[in-house]
Symmetry: C2
Subunit: 356 residues, 2 copies
Amino acid sequence: MTETNPNEIVIVKSENSKINTVDFSNLIFGRVFTDHMFVCDFEDGKWQTPQIMPYQAMTIEPSARVFHYGQAVFEGMKAYKDENGKIFLFRPNENCNRINKSAARLAMPKFPEDYFFKGLETLLRLDSEWIKPGVGNSLYIRPFVIATEPAISASPAASYRFIIICSPAKAYYNEPVRVLFAEKYSRSADGGVGFAKAAGNYAAQFYPTSLAQKKGFDQIIWTDASSHKYLEEAGTMNIFFRIHDKLITAPNNDRILDGVTRKSVIQLAKDLGIECEVRRVSVKEIKAAAKDGSLKEIFGTGTAAVISPVSAFEHADDVFEIDQIKDSYASLFKSTLLDIQHNLSDDKHGWRYEIR
Amino acid sequence: MTETNPNEIVIVKSENSKINTVDFSNLIFGRVFTDHMFVCDFEDGKWQTPQIMPYQAMTIEPSARVFHYGQAVFEGMKAYKDENGKIFLFRPNENCNRINKSAARLAMPKFPEDYFFKGLETLLRLDSEWIKPGVGNSLYIRPFVIATEPAISASPAASYRFIIICSPAKAYYNEPVRVLFAEKYSRSADGGVGFAKAAGNYAAQFYPTSLAQKKGFDQIIWTDASSHKYLEEAGTMNIFFRIHDKLITAPNNDRILDGVTRKSVIQLAKDLGIECEVRRVSVKEIKAAAKDGSLKEIFGTGTAAVISPVSAFEHADDVFEIDQIKDSYASLFKSTLLDIQHNLSDDKHGWRYEIR
Ligand SMILES: Cc1ncc(COP(=O)(O)O)c(C=O)c1O
Ligand SMILES: Cc1ncc(COP(=O)(O)O)c(C=O)c1O
């Protein structure tokens, strides 16, 4: 499948950089893109010569299968720049593996690891000016794959396009979020595609989330679809609960995304001597802990927001406010992660990946 | 929302028809499209002036939300031509209502009914040569809506495109199909989007279906995700079971598509004096009926295939062959439906909709 040599990326540089038109102190997430994009087509059973080209609109048939059957997967990762101008990714192997797990579940071809890294690194070097130093600044990287075959039969496509686009970012959420525990709607089924970053998983959450927003909540914490008794994850974050000084988070399964930030937090907890149980978490337990005062924190983990503290939750019309404590685990993990990501601290697990 | 007058469709006709390049006796489903397409954009909170233009590739940003979050819904319907050249649709109101139900579940704007009909009718009149008379021939019509806003935040888009493309068709499946009852994978969750024609529901089925195909089965009959004990529907068909002379089909719920063919068959059964129970159907019951000989037929219903008889099913490594009987309900419903669709019989329920 990798007959083409990824070293032969065909590069067409943009003639005019847009960078001076961008207000980096005032970025809305995901609206501004860098000067270049990486594109690689899958045709005739193999990935063709990869290309880097000016960021631009694509030409695509209205019958392309992605529009009809949602055969599309994606990733989300970030690049960081330290004060010396060095550029780092955070555990990029995890994203490379995960996009291929997602692809396999949607009957899409694997994208070769060497193409992934070669393409990403070449792109980041070209657009390195777009990565601003300083904690909180980053370049959000969006690799994705879409089914392009122009034929509307409901079966896996024969042609695909792998693309990487990049968008300069500040932290995704700045404020603590108010969340609603799902009682009626669900995000994914046992035996479904919830563990994959499959495009369709996200649109499915928009309507229930809009209902939650009308009630004054920012996001939904999804529960298991069968009983709605167990807390699983949020729309783009895994979820941790702190009861007394112990952390609890739901185990991975075929409904829950295996988050890179989640697994990093579990490791950091171990390093820091914080007990972390990976097990089912019931709504009942969390409500009881909120009532008796032992629930100290809830926070979400994800690449976009890093760590997102929760300030309130609702379930069955009961609303619980969670006081934001000083010395929270949320802020501890956030600063620990940011320091590793921005090359400000030791990297004993080898999570940083330098782009040279 | 409907400030624009749908009568003002802007029409750009194709200069050269492709119709003479098409072998109508040798059509592969969904690969060839007619000369024109209908397009209407949603911008600034409203649907803009609709357009009919030559069928062509579109220009779309790589950041368009449909590629990332699967915010896309579709419909499938058919146009038929009788021997006098009259053109008919079959219960098109159902499709118009359903695409808007699907859209609502995916937090997408409603497409106005007058736009839908005006656009569809104008398009069909322009491309009427593509609809061939004769039972079995039809023009498959694919209305769909995609989120076009070029911004990758995981929330409902602000801009959309509604499109109709049309593809000449023969019957989708010709042979009876062999099916596998799902034991591990699932199609949709309670509280999910299974009832909607949401793009992502379809890609999610490709991989499990490919596993079934490796075992020699054409399709999967999905079971409920919680217990896998109850039979729900196939990938693009609802399912009926005939035990002795009685039909049984699963009730609609938020996991199952409310099929137009299904509801027509339920009505026709009533007209023909055939008992039809709409209730949960257990795997156990169907296996027992297959063993004791009371299971006479299983068939699927859907716009593409009309009625698709099942010749075998597998569950838990038990394979049951179903002898194809003469005077089957499947063939009775198929010919009854085709006759109504092709204006060959009375239409006492007013299901035909003539395009004038
Ligand atoms: C459904 C879901 N859960 C959790 C996460 C967090 O994963 P990660 O930490 O790898 O960004 C994401 C976002 O990437 C997600 O989409
Ligand atoms: C999941 C699913 N079930 C059933 C059907 C059959 O519905 P209809 O009879 O309206 O074509 C379809 C196809 O349209 C479908 O996609």
